[in-house]
Amino acid sequence: MKMLVTGANGFLGRHVLSALLARGHLVRALVRPAARVDDLGWPDSVDLFRADLRSTRELKPAFDGVDVLVHLAASVTGGEDAQFAATVVGTERLLGAMARTSCRRMVLASSFSVYDWSSIRGTLDESSPIEPVPALYARDGYSIAKSWQERVTRRFGEKHGWDLTVLRPGFIWGRDHAGIAALGQQLGRIQLVIGPFTHIPLTHVENCADLFALAAEDPRARGLTFNVVDGEGERIWRFAGQYLRGTSERRIRIPIPYHLAYWLVRLAFATVFRRNLKLPGLLIPNRFEARLKPLRYTNRRAREVLGWKPPLEFRECLSRTFGAAPATVPSLELAKKTG
């Protein structure tokens, strides 16, 4: 099959591209006009399409001969409006172009950030509620943009009768991307670990990419939403320790009970801070919950429907992340061998 991968040179995109190549698919990589891809080690078979989803006048040619769109492009930096433009307006323009082609199948990279963390108790799974309006607008720019991106995509899918699969990864981590928000708050040499026994919804980037590649090719994934986690997840305290050891950063971990911190944040937000939404995310209750709430996570649906098993064990993930750097992306090596 021929796959169009947006955001192909991003942190997740590079691994998804490799995983798709390893499975024998043809890949067209959509990257921004000024993106540098020379040092990514992509084989010549990768068909490069340079475009900016916000501004490139004609995106339809990107779909020539494409069977499946794997849409990963999203902004993780910049202000709220810049993120909305890159993530949502970009998606709107891309899917508007797709609607004028024969491509009818797509996989969207959504996010755990779309869930309503305040109302979920116990286990967070694909049936958990998503953040409602107006609470959504108290969330950060990334969550607003990802929620809208999923909303826009589902509308396009319904209108045009596409086969849509939505994957919602938890915290994606890997080499140079292990400093996730769940680690808590750094204050100089001190690392405040909030809710040290809480499990983190982790998915190592190579495991995550493997599920994207599987979902893109497997007809059983059509019409379904999957959460992407490697398992129940490490506890924050332990992962913070592994992170500090792996990065050789010298910080002293201080544990803070989750509920104590949460109620202090709620109290301060309602009184001293007068519900100011320009505060740092940790001081806004529903953003605090989205980062740190103690819940349980499962990849049961991916296992049961697609027979998926994360290819890398946690120990391997640690060594891939903090060990000696490989010359190229590991799965790309595999892609080159099998290709």
Partner: protein
């Protein structure tokens, strides 16, 4: 009054936040080329209708006031259509690409008896108002000279210098810096009046997609002189306003709440620097705390001036009093902006 917005991006959200708190103002509709952006703004600010076609919105909603908050190259057509539809127009800066366009808008607004207001929000910041109050009370003495300098890192890969998606402001003579000229020109106009002549230096010091990243100007105006500057390389980010009067000098950072005064004092001359220094230190400490508290307590922050401009504009439209930014001032400021643009730009 029935208000509507064309353009629902970042600055539009500031307008909407303000309008929500204005008595007697109902935001009836919002329009954006992107359906998601328009619908999101409508949902977020509980606006009853949203559009992607501004003409359809003007026809169906018949707003009393239109806020034009799109990228600036589209302002002229949208503002003209809004005037023709019978609405007053509040347009974000820069109002137009050229003085000829601005002049055409101002003439049409005059013919139709509609208001045309360009947003010079920094004229209405607390610091600027306090300096102006002291000037008007006579305490300051006559203003001899005003300096306004914006130091802002616009060379980063997102925003103005995005190498992937050209920023709309790059279509202007002067590129991204043209987006800031209305701030500088309006402050010069406020303190020293309409300009007579201007000398400029436009330069490019760093590699980027921007045509220029440094700008300096010396302006001779009716009541004094002005030195205006923009630097993309000087850090930290700041908007320095320094006003030199006959009896007092004021220094403000309009990105913060800092405002200090040096003044002639009674008593022995050698003591004056000490007293001015002590007063300045006290003001800076107070302002530093104020800036921090402002961040934590919410509110409009650096957009406080915009909130005042909008509140006063709506008040004037309701009671027929003089607009906070009258048409004559918009024309004068835009004449200066035209004189500040790079030579040979034809603008």
């Amino acid at each position: 009054m029935k208000a509507a917005l064309i353009g629902a991006g970042q600055i539009a959200r500031q307008h909407l936040s303000c309008l929500q708190g204005l008595p007697g103002v109902e935001v009836a509709a919002v329009c954006d080329l992107s359906p998601s952006v328009a619908e999101c703004a409508a949902e977020r600010y509980r606006i009853p209708s949203w559009y992607t076609d501004h003409r359809a919105m003007l026809r169906e909603v018949r707003p009393d006031v239109i806020h034009v908050t799109t990228p600036p190259t589209s302002h002229f057509r949208l503002a003209m259509d809004s005037l023709e539809a019978g609405a007053h127009v509040i347009v974000e800066k820069p109002a137009t690409s050229t003085f000829a366009e601005l002049d055409a808008l101002a003439r049409r607004a005059g013919e139709l008896g509609r208001a045309l207001v360009e947003d010079y929000n920094y004229l209405f910041n607390s610091a600027t108002r306090e300096i102006l109050r002291r000037v008007e009370s006579g305490e300051f003495g006559a203003v001899i000279h005003v300096e306004a300098m914006i130091s802002l890192d616009i060379l980063g890969p997102s925003g103005f210098a995005d190498p992937n998606a050209p920023h709309p402001c790059l279509a202007f003579a002067g590129g991204a810096i043209a987006d800031f000229l209305p701030h500088l020109a309006s402050l010069a106009n406020l303190f020293v009046g309409p300009h007579r002549r201007a000398h400029t230096v436009w330069a490019k010091r760093k590699r980027s997609v921007l045509p220029y990243d440094e700008f300096r100007a010396v302006v001779d105006a009716e009541r004094g002189t002005a030195a205006l500057a923009f630097s993309a390389s000087s850090q930290p980010n700041a908007f320095w306003l320094r006003v030199h009067g006959e009896r007092m000098q004021a220094t403000a950072n309009l990105f913060e709440t800092r405002l200090t005064f040096d003044r002639l004092r009674p008593g022995p001359k050698p003591v004056q620097p000490l007293l001015n220094g002590l007063e300045e230190g006290k003001s800076i400490r107070r302002a530093a705390l104020g800036t921090l508290l402002q961040k934590f307590s919410g509110g409009p922050g650096t957009y406080e001036g915009l909130f005042r401009v909008l509140a006063r504009t709506y008040q004037s439209l309701a009671d027929g009093s003089t607009l906070p930014i009258p048409a004559q001032q918009v024309l004068e400021v835009n004449r200066l902006i035209a004189a500040l643009r790079p030579e040979g730009s034809g603008a």
